[in-house]
Symmetry: C2
Subunit: 311 residues, 2 copies
């Protein structure tokens, strides 16, 4: 296929990780950020994360640095890109302003996708000159490793753009899901938030320690959810009758638990309990070390899943 | 160590899986069940699951069948066991009756642990002759593979029994967590229920399909949670400031999501949506095939985690 040209708006961690992914599939990547300091971190990030990608695909070429451009100047970079991925800080006004500014220099038909976690496509596209070219394409950190992209159209998004976005991200090996409608947190972060609320509740009300909650996850639920989603897990929990049997026999026990779950807020004393609890579990491991552990483990798990798929 | 002798009350899937685990660590195992049919399934289960354990530990011996005894008669099996693990159906009255009956034949100081998912230790031990010997030790299915055991004392449990139980399960390679107090669902199934409530909500209110929810899980959150618990994940989501920075900068976005989560019930039309949605994702895969896929994947993941730990 012809070399794709992609503009990234925002050079934070997500932008740098997208850059890694797109370069690894031989795209031309231009990263815009008003901050010189932010731009200065992109190359070191790519260099480091490329080592991880090499472990996933030993045949990967060296980094095509000549295909990467870093720029503080929006006016000069917008020459005929195929795709724009926006990864600015997750604040509505900031994103709206950035996109309206970028549209002054972009061809009118280039799609623009936002990596937003917390905002809605319909809100972001308000005020755009060509809102039909806009949608949300939410990755998970780090996008060069985690396969999921959630593609969500806003009210003014062109109907065909969703499918086009799906095809685009699949070119880069991504697993695309498309929520049926806009919702705060899309799909995965709604699940995440629901679970995390109970994490906070258990710490706040003294049911369990931060450490034991994290250990419970990695030694039980997390092992299954790496391979099977929650519906399939309960399908297997229903014996020979599957999901229908599970829901008939054990659905009511879910409802009993639902009624006992907590509704908490992140008040400052609760935040402190969480922070203190985490401190105990770290045993001196730095964020740097943990991040490396996470990425190494992710790469091994992705390799394992690829191998399982090919059996 | 001297050969431990363990009685299992109940020969369902959990009992058969515990049997596999205990035999693989060279214990003597006696399985009681009033149903001849239930007992007849134990040996085939062990035979089959032993193949999986062999993949985790190639040096594992052949199945010591002579150390396994199956019995429909409580009165004759209770001679000096070291431990009793109860895995009867998860109904309070049934468990209470079974334990009160078993106590007639057991030495008074033998610990009895219940595998209950949904019941509380304090409720089950009501009416026991020696309630201080009783606690909950909740495994995850299948216990011969999933490492977690949640150990929970009831109000009448002897204070030292919790630690003794922890040591006991650790002998068999289990990862033990001890909730600080009794709560419906212990720790992991509270997390599970909280997340599942939002699964059901998203299907019920048309935010996402069953298939996309399951795909979102296995391609994002599940990959991280296999290695890092939810607190550690957010610690890494906070940048250089860690968990404190995450909570300060993004805690409020969690609260926004919490306020948008649904509170649903498992009404029959919603159950049907879940069942129909799952059917579409199965693409003809039988429960048998899925179970084998799950166990094969679990074994590979556990091997991977063991290897990571030894690096």
């Amino acid at each position: 296929m012809p070399k794709l040209s992609i503009i990234l708006l925002g050079a934070g961690t997500i932008g740098a990780s997208w850059s890694t992914l797109f370069l690894s599939h031989n795209a031309k990547v231009t990263v815009f950020d008003p901050s010189k300091q932010a731009l200065s971190k992109v190359k070191p990030y790519i260099k480091n994360s490329w080592l991880g990608l090499k472990k996933l695909d030993p045949s990967l070429n060296n980094i095509p640095w000549q295909q990467l451009k870093l720029s503080q100047d929006l006016t000069t970079i917008c020459d005929a890109p195929d795709w724009v991925q926006e990864n600015a800080p997750d604040r509505l006004k900031l994103k709206q302003n950035l996109l309206q500014e970028a549209e002054n220099y972009l061809p009118t038909d280039v799609p623009i996708a936002s990596s937003t976690t917390a905002l809605m496509a319909t809100d972001i596209q308000t005020g755009m000159a060509f809102p039909e070219r806009f949608l949300v394409a939410h990755p998970f950190n780090p996008p060069h490793l985690i396969p999921l992209v959630e593609v969500v159209a806003g009210k003014k998004t062109a109907p065909e753009l969703t499918e086009r976005a799906k095809n685009f991200y699949q070119l880069f090996g991504k697993e695309v899901v498309i929520p049926k409608r806009e919702a705060i947190g899309h799909i995965a972060n709604r699940l995440n938030a629901a679970l995390y609320r109970e994490v906070v509740n258990m710490v706040a009300t003294g049911i369990a320690s931060v450490e034991d909650i994290d250990r419970a996850m990695v030694h039980s639920l997390g092992l299954r959810w790496a391979f099977l989603g929650p519906n399939l897990v309960y399908h297997l929990g229903g014996g020979e009758g599957g999901y229908a049997q599970y829901l008939d026999h054990l659905g009511s026990s879910q409802e009993v638990r639902w009624n006992d779950l907590g509704e908490v807020s992140l008040a400052s004393d609760i935040k402190q309990k969480l922070i203190d609890g985490l401190e105990e579990t770290l045993e001196g491991r730095s964020i740097e070390m943990l991040r490396k552990e996470r990425d190494d483990a992710l790469i091994k798990l992705l390799n394992l899943k690829n191998a399982v798929r090919q059996e």
